[in-house]
């Protein structure tokens, strides 16, 4: 008896719901098979150390879609957000939750490389369009590349290669590398060594400290002892603040170089100690092109804070998705056609020209910046349309 009444109540609800929906949109007919908005699943950090990065990426994506009237290629966009907590053990579970539970059409994530690896493994099997707006682990677009997975940020090694190239071209002959003993640091330093050596330089020593150790004095003494022309370092967050201050206080007289992530986000906290630190990145606030000017103005107007490199990556994630959707008229079931369009996408980004390599990693410009008075000032473009080698990736475009 009970089950019958349950059933009938559900039926009533369903009928009323359908009736209300029909009444609300009487003349709208879905123009493609699946109909309804395109569900875009965001697996990003909204709490913890990387919360700010997840927020910046999300804000830029929402701004982009808003400017397009809430739809890309004529398809309404509905974001489904899930906090990945930057916790690799939860990566697989959360990815499955979005794909199986929420039935998302497109997957976007994430910031932490460990989570991104877990996510990529599942996304590969599921085959749905997947865009990585930050995580830099080399293998994601090298050995573990996949036809449905794209990246709009960088490969760690790519940033290292660009930094090494810039240092060699500046006429520098010797360097000491110093970073945390973990994947991102090691990949950037390996890239740096490769390009710097190829350009005629020599890495005298690669020093590492255990992550997240922030006692740098003994390594600084070692650097002072080796007397390289420059020090090349990667630290981030609180570690970067402390490192830059300790480095300045040691008065080594040796210029400090690094990937842009050394200084981004900590410009204010390091104060005058950061003056003169040179970094290489695929973005600088003052990149001079109309896209960047418009992007910076719109973002600042919308959120009352200036955008950073992570926001740019979020922005381009939507540009890349739009390129794919346009090619298939918004029908994501035509996967091969969509991936082909995304794999050859080329558009204007706030960071400069944006293309996609065969391994689905951005081909982009790299800029040498110098930190002055709390701002990363663009000095010059050190690499134009610079691609990661994508070593070990079997895809071809």
């Amino acid at each position: 008896m009970k089950s019958r009444s349950e059933l009938s109540r559900r039926r009533v609800l369903a009928l009323t719901g359908a009736g209300a929906a029909a009444a609300a949109f009487p003349f709208v007919r879905p123009s493609f098979a699946q109909g309804g908005p395109l569900k875009v699943g965001l697996l990003l950090p909204y709490t913890g150390t990387y919360a700010q990065l997840g927020e910046a990426i999300t804000r830029a994506m929402e701004l982009y879609v808003k400017q397009k009237g809430g739809a890309l290629a004529g398809r309404q966009i509905a974001f489904v957000k899930l906090d990945d907590e930057s916790a690799p053990p939860k990566g697989a579970e959360n990815t499955t939750k979005l794909i199986e539970g929420e039935k998302v059409d497109v997957l976007i994530g994430t910031v932490h490389s460990g989570v991104a690896m877990a996510m990529a493994k599942i996304a590969r099997e599921a085959g749905l369009p997947t865009i990585n707006p930050n995580a830099g682990a080399d293998v994601l677009t090298r050995g573990l590349c996949a036809k449905n997975i794209f990246r709009t940020s960088f490969a760690n090694g790519q940033v290292g290669l660009a930094t090494g190239k810039a240092a060699a071209e500046a006429g520098i002959k010797t360097a000491v590398s110093f970073t945390w003993d973990y994947a991102a640091g090691k990949e950037m330093i390996a890239g740096f060594a490769e390009a710097f050596t190829a350009g005629g330089g020599k890495v005298l020593k690669e020093i590492t400290v255990p992550f997240p150790n922030v006692e740098f004095q003994s390594a600084l003494a070692e650097i002072a002892n080796l007397q390289p022309e420059i020090t090349h370092s990667f630290f981030s967050g609180g570690g970067a603040v402390k490192y830059i201050k300790d480095y300045a206080a040691a008065k080594l007289g040796i210029p400090l170089w690094g990937p842009g992530f050394l200084t981004d986000g900590v410009e204010a906290a390091v104060g005058a100690a950061g003056d003169g630190v040179k970094t290489v990145l695929h973005y600088a606030d003052d990149v001079d092109n109309p896209e960047n000017k418009a992007f910076r103005k719109d973002f600042t107007d919308a959120y009352k804070v200036a955008p950073d490199v992570f926001a740019v990556q979020g922005w381009d994630t939507m540009q890349l998705l739009e390129a794919g959707l346009k090619a298939v008229g918004g029908d994501v079931s035509k996967r091969d056609a969509m991936f082909a369009a995304m794999g050859t996408a080329s558009f204007k980004s706030p960071r400069g020209p944006f293309d996609i390599s065969a391994a689905h990693n951005p081909v982009q410009n790299f800029y040498l910046r110098e930190l002055k008075g709390g701002k990363n000032v663009l000095i010059k473009t050190v690499a134009t349309k610079f691609s990661d080698p994508g070593t070990g990736c079997k895809l071809s475009s």
Partner: protein
């Protein structure tokens, strides 16, 4: 030779900073028998107090003078609310409660101060740096902090060896029941010891803030290193904590340069060696 001297100096200096955090932990563990995993959180509290108070008062030493009593009151309140219920319980429950406190404090920190790293200004009269051993310069502030740590260590040893309260603490450490029989209120004594431990950790956080920079999770590495120091020095021994901290500092400084592959292990290898040869720690009762 310059490099060796510089590294000795680096190690001693780092060791003195560790001592400040570890001394409070060894007191609480040795005298009260409480495993306090939230000790690192009190260090973090100090660092963030330093950030807020220095922006209000403009001077790190004023922050220290204000921050220590604040931390003492905070410590006494935490003892009254939570810790006093643990004295009769076993260590597992102590670990669970104090671990829970870590999570709560981390979340509070995020709500109040946010996740961005901050830095605390060094007072202008200590802002220079001096060259030592010809290799590299040291911020004057770092040297001043090392001096302050030595003063504090001497003051603690004086209080414990030469004063009435010190006698009570030492007596409480060796035989709690007997102290109670003699008419000393151990509840108050323990509250005082715990609050002192919190103050010491916070003081470490306050004066280290301009050197370390202030960021979420700053207390966690401090907790681990402090536990190692306490094990090496012997539970409850302030002198042991002092020697242990200097040993850890030196091992770390030389390990990073001469055994870079094993840098993260050197400190623990030292601990293991001490445990094998002197299971009670260098200055502890076996």
């Amino acid at each position: 030779m310059d490099l060796v001297l510089t590294q000795i100096f680096n190690g001693l200096q780092y060791g003195l900073l560790i001592f400040l955090a570890a001394s409070g932990l060894t007191l609480v563990l040795g005298i009260m028998g409480v495993i306090n995993l939230s000790h690192g959180s009190f260090y973090m509290l100090g660092a963030y107090l330093s950030l807020t108070l220095t922006s209000l008062t403009g001077d790190i030493f004023l922050s220290l003078a204000l921050g220590i009593p604040l931390a003492f009151l905070f410590g006494a309140a935490i003892e009254w609310l939570f810790i006093r219920h643990l004295y009769a319980r076993d260590h597992l429950q102590q670990v669970l409660l104090t671990f829970g406190l870590i999570l709560v404090f981390n979340e509070l920190q995020r709500i109040i101060w946010g996740t961005f790293p901050h830095s605390v200004p060094i007072p202008s009269y200590l802002s220079g740096s001096v060259k030592i051993f010809g290799l590299m310069s040291y911020p004057v502030y770092r040297i001043a902090v090392a001096g302050l740590c030595i003063l504090l260590a001497l003051a603690m040893m004086f209080v414990i060896q030469r004063t009435k309260i010190g006698r009570m603490i030492r007596a409480g450490e060796s035989n709690r029941e007997m102290v109670e029989v003699l008419g000393i209120d151990t509840r108050l004594l323990f509250r005082f010891v715990f609050a002192t431990g919190v103050s010491l950790a916070a003081a470490g956080g306050i004066i280290a803030a301009p050197i370390e920079s202030v960021y979420p999770g700053i207390g966690e590495s401090v907790l681990i290193t402090s536990l190692v120091v306490v094990v090496i020095g012997g539970i409850g021994s302030v002198r042991g904590a002092f020697v242990g901290a200097l040993l850890i500092g030196l091992a770390d400084a030389f390990g990073k340069v001469y055994l870079p592959q094993f840098a993260s292990m050197v400190v623990y290898a030292l601990m293991a060696a001490v445990l094998v040869t002197r299971p009670g720690g260098l200055f502890g009762r076996a």
